[in-house]
Amino acid sequence: MSREGFTGFTRGEARVSAARGVYFDRFGPFGKIARLPWSIILLIVGTGLVGTAMLFSVGWDPVSAAPSPDEANLWRDHITRLGVGFVLMIGLALLPLSVWSRFAFPAYAAVIILLVLVDFFGVMGGGAARWLKVGPIQIQPSEPAKLAVTMAVASFYQRMMPTNGQSPPLYVHGGALLLVLIPAALVFKQPNLSTALALTASGAMIIFFAGISMRYVLAAIALGLVYVPAIYTFVLEPYQRERVDTLIAGITGESTNGLGESYQIEQAKIAIGAGGFSGRGYLQGIQSQQEYVPEQHTDFILTIIAEEFGFIGAIALLSVFAFLFAWSFMVASKNRSWFGRLATVGATSTIAFFAIFNSGMVLGLLPVLGMPLPLISYGGTALITVMACFGLILSAHLHRDEKLSTRGLF
């Protein structure tokens, strides 16, 4: 059926949608909850539980055949955070898009203030100032920044989108770029290269989907390629350069034996390779259970999945991610507002960026940067951020028909 000249639904779709709404409305305030896509939510939570199970395996002590007391907190923390994240995600999913959009700029402003505060009062950790300490609570503002920037840029386009059916003029894209680059620069300065990259990448995706001319897209890619050597030489820190060197050595087959950066990659490759087709079985990974892979509970958790569940398990996990991203794109496509569409692709890009970059890094295809595997890696703030991003996507799904104002910025 041709959609020419029709922006809403076909009549069939409208009927189904209306009928469902009428049916669920009988459940009163719980009707909205009932209308959530529970199979998708199950998939998200299920993936998180895979993380819990793998963290249990990381903390397993094969000698005493019991959880090692030092590492028993790993899975417990993770499942607790998963619970908190779940409640948050459902809560956020129920918020109408208008609320999301209304709070976009205040959230953005708050995040910028926090990021500036971090640069001045931040708590040092791992050689970088990333944390703000308020009493007993530690906040890492670069994590909520991912969501806030997505919301702000999407909201900005929602307000600036021309009503005449044209693409937005170039200055609008310029403004959006500025909204992205300010927090990205602040995060980069901490320094936190991976989050700065994630912010820039998801921001760029939003600008791309907002309809910037393909000329500029291609020009940006070309420019990026030209500047790679310059970035390598002037922007990267020596340790980051070393990681890139290691990566190139690994891909071109030069010797990467020994300790240091290449040791981690080498041990990760051994763990993955030793998993083979069907894996060694849960709690049975010889490489993983004997702690040969550093950071296996955080960035390198994919290695224990690949070793204990093999090719099958790794492909299954990647497929689940691929499916969730594809579904999110469908959500974006079906949303009626620019805010809904762009916020969805922004949130999806953020999660996808981490999933792709993490797998690429663990598989030795990308340099080692601190990138957790969404939903699975140990680490509270990242998990909560990912769940919040899914909350936004679910909200965009639930409120796909909501009409938002396009009446300019103020």
Partner: protein, 649 residues
């Protein structure tokens, strides 16, 4: 409305584009996964297996040291040991306090253990047990064993420890073992192939491993050590053992060999008791075989205190003790022999032909020579003295004359024939040779000519001359054996002692018979300086001997006049040493002995009774009977001679 080029339509197209790019990324990841997990999986599986299997060093059991009759003197004992495993401790300090409720655990030790625990956490070696107390008493072990079940991370078990069941009795002979220090490693590493060194260091870092630090433990280190084995175990990335694999029997540790020494530990015990707390030394030799049957140096230290590391305070106490318990008097103590040396002087003069048995000198209690008076120990003098009476009465004037006639170089030559001046290592550490002075030595060492007066001093065993109790016993045995070839031994079955020679230079049997007759006179003829010591109290056999007094300092003229030279009138450390050498039985000599009682003042009064009782015990216990190792020693082949099987590492 939404035309083909509308932003909405464009959005959907761009979604498809992004989905396409995502698919490409997905395909790349799947491709990489198939490469690693399907194509190269075998290679990585092999690498993973190699990562984990390690050959862990298994330390060998150290060989025992046994006495003549196979009584253990140094052995491996299973002792209760309590250790903590740092990675399993929640609160290390609280756990140590809990342990301290059940056993004696000094505060300093607690502090030390806590330091070790935090160090092991930094090294990520929290799985390596940290020893809290190396040796628990049986009661402590039993008590703690029951309690430890409730204490997480506390391990109470039996472990192999070096132990010296005879304690102080053999401290100076056996020495002790200790954890290897950097110096020990350097010393042991000498001459080893560089590829062995790593294993060697690994071996000595093992908590159960000890190295011989002193005495025979050090001398026979290679014999006793054995060869470490290798156990195949699966370890994790931090080296923590995870599981044992099937073991290759050829890789098992080979225990060190047992070492037999010639000493009769019962005789040793008797000898030590006989000193009754006095400081001194005694050496008993079997004249027929050359075996050392007893070798005493008192006071001594307890070598068990060194095995697990002696505290600085305890060590300082030993070091600064005025009785010097660390000092090995029997083989490392150098004394002037005093009158016990007179047989050597007489032998030299007889060999040189400057005197014979009938040569007489008259003693007036002193002799004028070189512008001063040379005194005899008997104020009134001995009158006319011949060789037999010279020895029996120990007449100094007689020996001044004899020494003058024989000359310093002849006396020195004969002294060396008797074994003076040479280190008798016998497989110990700390042996000293003393000094036999002569003209050449004086020119070289002092750049001075020899004075004739010094020869007189030499003639009565004073002056520069320095000898050890071991050398005195050798001299006595050689006299008793009438000059026959003689090879002293302390190691009955064990590595050879390349440093030691034999006493095989000819000594005239007739001259030796004269010496024996003189020594018999000393103990068994009226007027002999030790007349009452001749009877062994065994109702038959007698001993023959010679007394000696070693001056600790010169006697001043004033003291000589006043006669105050002994007793409580002067400080103990200034009193003379008492010496006695003897053999028994007189008709068919079997045992020779030398005794030094430090600051004992008179050889006949303090040293002779000690020697008599020890000799009597040796005869009564038949200490020289066939040793337990005689069969082994006979089958000792050149292959195993002196070296453990294979290289020790």
């Amino acid at each position: 409305m939404a035309r083909r080029n509308s932003p909405e339509a464009d959005f959907d197209r761009r979604l498809l584009l992004a989905a396409g790019a995502g698919t490409a990324v997905f395909a790349t990841l799947v491709g990489r996964l198939s490469q690693l997990q399907l194509i190269e999986s075998d290679r990585y599986t092999k690498l993973a297996a190699e990562n984990h299997v390690r050959l862990v060093l298994a330390p060998p059991e150290r060989g025992q040291i046994l006495d003549r009759f196979a009584r253990p003197l140094a052995s491996q004992r299973q002792a209760g040991r309590v250790s903590v495993i740092p990675e399993r401790l929640e609160d290390a300090e609280a756990t140590l306090r809990q342990i301290a409720e059940h056993i004696d655990l000094p505060e300093t030790r607690v502090k030390r253990v806590l330091e070790e625990i935090s160090a092991s956490r930094i090294r990520r070696s929290g799985f390596v047990p940290v020893t809290v107390v190396q040796e628990l008493s049986y009661e402590e072990f039993a008590r703690l064993r029951v309690r430890a079940v409730e204490m997480e991370g506390v391990d109470v078990q039996m472990a192999s420890t070096r132990s010296y069941p005879r304690g102080r009795d053999f401290a100076h002979i056996l020495g002790y073992v200790a954890r290897a220090s950097a110096d020990d490693l350097t010393r042991l590493a000498e001459g080893r192939a560089p590829e062995d060194l790593e294993t060697f260091e690994e071996l000595f870092r093992h908590p159960d491993m000890r190295v011989g630090r002193q005495g025979m433990e050090r001398f026979a280190e290679d014999w006793l050590r054995g060869r470490p084995g290798r156990r195949r175990v699966v370890t994790n990335a931090h080296g923590r053992p995870m599981e044992e694999l099937e073991q290759d029997p050829t890789n098992a540790a080979v225990a060190g060999k047992d070492l037999y020494i010639t000493i009769d530990s019962e005789l040793q015990r008797v000898a030590i008791d006989r000193f009754e707390g006095e400081s001194g030394a005694a050496v008993v030799l079997d004249i027929a075989s050359g075996d050392v049957l007893a070798m005493v140096s008192t006071p001594a230290f307890d070598p068990n205190a060194f095995v697990n590391g002696i505290s600085g305070k305890d060590y300082a106490e030993l070091r600064d003790n005025s009785m010097s318990p660390l000092y090995p008097r029997a083989h490392g103590g150098v004394y002037p022999p005093g009158s016990t040396f007179k047989m050597v002087v007489a032998t030299a003069a007889l060999e040189a032909g400057v005197i014979d048995t009938k040569t007489r000198f008259t003693c007036h209690g002193r002799m004028w020579f070189g512008g001063r008076n040379w005194h005899c120990h008997k104020k009134g003098g001995h009158g006319s003295v011949d060789l037999h009476n010279g020895i029996k009465l120990s007449c100094d004037v007689y020996f001044y004359q004899v020494a003058r006639l024989a000359g310093v170089d002849k006396i020195a030559e004969v002294a060396r024939k008797f074994g003076f001046g040479e280190d008798w290592v016998l497989g110990m550490t700390g042996a000293r040779g003393g000094l036999v002075p002569d003209r050449a030595w004086k020119r070289k060492a002092r750049n001075e000519e020899w004075f004739e007066g010094e020869t007189l001093n030499f003639g009565i065993g004073q002056g520069q001359l320095g000898v050890t109790p071991v050398q005195l016993a050798l001299m006595t045995a050689r006299i008793a054996a009438e000059g026959k070839h003689f090879k002293p031994r302390l190691i009955g079955f064990g590595p050879d002692v390349p440093e030691d020679g034999e006493l095989d230079m000819p000594l005239d049997a007739e001259i030796m018979k004269l010496m024996k007759s003189g020594m018999f006179g000393v103990t068994s003829e009226p007027g002999g300086t030790a007349y009452r010591s001749g009877d062994l109290g065994l109702g038959g056999p007698r001993l023959a001997g010679k007394t000696g007094t070693a001056q600790v300092r010169n006697i001043s003229a004033a003291e000589r006049v006043s006669g105050v030279r002994t007793g409580d009138a002067i400080a103990r450390e200034l009193r003379d040493h008492a010496l006695f050498v003897a053999y028994a039985p007189t008709d068919n000599p079997r045992y020779a002995i030398s005794v030094v009682v430090e600051h004992g003042e008179g050889g006949s009064r303090t040293a002779a009774p000690v020697a008599r009782d020890i000799l009597a015990a040796a005869i009564k216990m038949d200490s020289g009977r066939t040793p337990a190792y005689s069969k082994r020693a006979a089958t000792k082949t050149p292959d195993t001679d002196g070296k453990p099987e294979g290289d020790p590492v």
